[in-house]
């Protein structure tokens, strides 16, 4: 026999309260990374929980409440960007296949690895934060989930409703863009040019 509606809602609230404690910061981080706007991120998380409370069927077939909530937070973040900042490139504009442009990006100059105190310094972190502007919201979400949080590719694919192959493409493309943006930060004026630069 299935539980009555009151009991089912109480159990849903309990599961969501637990998720808020255990995954709240990560849910907010995904929204913040995707939107790059603290107000939009807060709205996305609050709308996601409100929506999760209303979706009585939401838990069915879901292996983890956290994965389901991450998916709702990402979708809300994209909805908010779509509604309020239409100039942002949206997921449907992201290509799921690597292109010659990606290959060209990969052949850019190397950083010539700086010492750790420079690599992990405050300025490098600020440069990374700035460089993330160059990524699309989807690339930033992939980067957050896969690179920062270290989630398996399959789980990231579940959250973002992508194939594992598409997750790898967006991760690779996002990393290459960040590497290119951070090259100027790490390469001093005296650094030797890349092979491509030397030819031009």
């Amino acid at each position: 026999m299935s539980p009555g509606p009151d009991r089912a809602e109480a159990s849903r609230r309990e599961a969501l309260s637990r998720a808020l404690v255990e995954e709240g910061d990560r849910l907010y981080a995904l929204a913040l990374r995707t939107t790059r706007d603290p107000d939009l991120a807060a709205d996305a998380v609050q709308e996601a929980f409100a929506s999760a409370l209303e979706k009585a069927d939401g838990f069915r077939g879901e292996s983890r409440v956290g994965t389901w909530l991450h998916r709702i937070v990402f979708n809300k973040s994209i909805d908010l960007l779509r509604r309020r900042r239409r100039y942002e490139p949206l997921p449907e504009e992201d290509q799921d296949e690597l292109t010659p442009d990606d290959d060209r990006l990969a052949h850019g100059a190397s950083w010539a690895r700086p010492p750790d105190d420079v690599l992990l310094g405050v300025e490098a972190k600020a440069a990374l934060e700035l460089a993330l502007e160059d990524l699309t919201p989807l690339q930033r979400a992939v980067f957050e989930l896969r690179e920062t949080e270290g989630r398996p590719t399959g789980e990231v694919a579940d959250i973002l409703d992508l194939t594992p192959g598409a997750v790898r493409v967006h991760l690779h493309r996002g990393r290459l863009k960040l590497r290119a943006r951070l090259t100027d930060h790490f390469r001093g004026r005296d650094a030797p040019p890349s092979a491509e630069e030397a030819q031009t």
């Binding site: 609230r13 910061d25 849910l27 907010y28 990374l128 990393r175 590497r179 951070l182």
Partner: protein, 75 residues
């Protein structure tokens, strides 16, 4: 294996989803190709910067609002 072929398969390599023979070919190329080693080094360094950044925290007022909402009795 060319540099482009390697670069396009790098994330699959990290995920351990490539066939053994391709992995071996990729590792052989990587051991001999300086530009590919540099790129891989940069990507590893990028991951280090990323992991050294403080994770954002949900603002307390947002968390409290959500906790209050979830604590309401079922309607």
């Amino acid at each position: 294996m060319t540099c482009d072929e390697l670069l396009r398969q790098l994330t699959e390599f990290e995920d351990g989803v490539l066939p053994d023979a391709v992995c071996e070919e990729l590792q052989r190329h990587l051991a001999e190709c300086e530009p590919c080693q540099s790129l891989r080094g940069d990507l590893e360094a990028l991951a280090l910067i990323c992991h050294s950044c403080a994770a954002p925290r949900m603002p307390e007022d947002v968390r409290q609002r959500l906790a209050d909402r979830l604590a309401e009795p079922p309607r």
